[in-house]
Amino acid sequence: MELKNCRMAYGEALKKLGEENRNVVVLEADLGNSTMSKLFGAEFPERYFQMGIAEQNMLSTAAGLAFAGKIPFVNSFAVFSTGRPYDQIRSSICIPEANVKICGSSAGLSDYGDGKTHQSIDDIAIMQVLPHMTVLSPVDAVETEKMVKAAAELAGPCYIRVNRNDIPVLTEPSEEYHIGKMSVMREGTDLVIFATGYMVYQSLEAAKILEKKGIRAKVVNVSTIKPLDAEKVRELAKGMKAVVTVEEHSVFGGLGAAIQKAMAKGPLPAELIGVEDRFGTSAENYELMLQEYGLTPEDIARRAAGLVQ
């Protein structure tokens, strides 16, 4: 399977966007080499603002740029672009619906080595709780690229959660992409797994394990977490025996919570798979990290099977 890096795709997409739209401006906080926003900076230095390690100022400055008619993309690690400047996003950006795009790079546990301070297990929660905020979580590099373009076309605040590592490409460049649309990656009749980001791949692998046990799992890529198409969620869950959600994020306030809210009218046995109310940790590699947090295909399969067997 082809592996591709999401943040590289993000940086390339940003650069392309810069060519197409001169109102696109980019801000970064001394992590441009990691977020790959530097690719834009190399091409358009006059529209690239190095804001230093001062994220609060960066987010409010982005609001000001938006009010001046620009389309700012703000870049840092997910922890530093959401939690650190939370009130700036809330007050300077979301209340006035400023047209600011926030990139949360190295999201989830994908920055496996750096430990709990650098691993975002709460970013979806604190972004989706904000009125007017759109929350996106791409499944792969191809979707990341389409998402950047779509985010620029969307009027209003938008958060994009980007994985740090080389991950499998699951979608085609030719596939149409729309914010708000979820896609079935694998059909199944026993249970449905709603997953986001890299966890879609993990869930597809889990589905293979489940199949051997005679359980047919449907896997859905939820790359728009907010706004969530609740009707579609219920439709996809119809006739199923159970619902599973998988995310590289706390089980509190993330995708699981959003799906559960959508399902409130017709509850099914459910498992919310994610980070169980704890922070991250340092690990030698991403694989080990995901094992530690129970986010491997085997974990997903075991818990999903538990619901229907």
Binding site: R47, F49, G52, N57, S60, G64, A68, G69, K70
Partner: protein, 278 residues
């Protein structure tokens, strides 16, 4: 002196009008930010009616921008925006009411309000972004930002203080309403600011110190700011909290409070005299 005495008189009258409108917005029994709104009334009058490029259309792209980072003083701005015809003075009585146009703090749904502020410490950063954004399209647009002195305790202010000179944001002019009193006590008791001029100069700003109630000095400072190249300007405006209302002057008590019937009557009388004096 850059301005005719006629213009100075007009602006002093405008400032008295602003104070009159503030009192109308928060009559006896209605809680509001009298202290910080009246300390900045003279500067606000000078900006909207003496300095800034303003147009009939509050969204005209050529306009200069004014952001109150100390959003709680927005009553002074409401007075001016109504005067500019952006909404009716009828709205004054509905300040801070359900479905009323005029919110308790600045909101972009209000014509002429450029940003959302109120959570202190963010306005200078927003103003910087606006200055940088406007500069890409029209270098003649100037962005003004009013900060409170209590607000300077917010770390974000100093992030913006460092950032703006780095971008040579010469189209940005900030004004600190240095009234020396914050919500509950004197700034120097709560969180001493010490030498503000030295601080801002060392951060790379052009700094001008003035009496924030001396209309001529205010205008001169704003003119000077416009001539500064390669760096932003900070005007330190020494003011009196509650200026114009002797019962409220120099005290934290009217930071956000309601006047009694007696005080309200007294305030109206003071405004009458203020106008006579101009």
């Amino acid at each position: 002196m850059s301005c005719s005495s006629e213009k100075i008189r007009e602006l002093k009258r405008r400032a008295a009008d602003i104070r009159e409108d503030i009192v109308e917005m928060i009559p006896a029994g209605k809680v509001g930010h009298l202290g910080g709104s009246s300390s900045i009334a003279d500067v606000t009058a000078a900006l909207y009616f003496g300095k800034m490029k303003v147009f009939r259309d509050p969204k005209d792209p050529r306009r200069d921008r004014l952001i109150f980072s100390k959003g709680h003083a927005v009553l002074a701005q409401y007075a001016c925006l109504a005067e500019l015809g952006y909404f009716s003075k009828e709205e004054f009585k509905n300040v801070k009411t359900l479905h009323g146009l005029l919110q308790g703090h600045p909101d972009v749904s209000i014509p002429g309000i450029e940003a959302v502020t109120g959570s202190l410490g963010q306005g200078l950063s927003v103003s910087l972004g606006m200055a940088l954004g406007c500069r890409l399209d029209d270098p003649d647009v100037r962005v003004y930002c009013v900060l409170g002195d209590g607000e300077l305790a917010e770390g974000q202010v100093w992030e913006a203080a460092m950032a703006a000179p780095n971008f040579k944001a010469e189209n940005l002019c900030a004004i600190i309403d240095r009234n020396g009193i914050q919500a509950t006590d004197a700034t120097e008791k709560i969180f001493p600011i010490r030498d503000l001029k030295a601080k801002w100069e060392s951060f790379g700003w052009h700094v001008i110190e003035i009496d924030g109630h001396d209309m001529e000095a205010i205008l001169d400072a704003l003119d000077e700011a416009e001539t500064v190249k390669g760096k932003p300007t900070m005007i330190l405006a020494k003011t009196i909290k509650g200026k114009g209302f002797d019962f409220a002057e120099g005290t934290a008590r009217y930071h956000n409070a309601a006047m009694t019937e007696e005080e309200y009557a007294q305030a109206k009388e003071l405004i009458r005299k203020m106008k006579e004096g101009v």
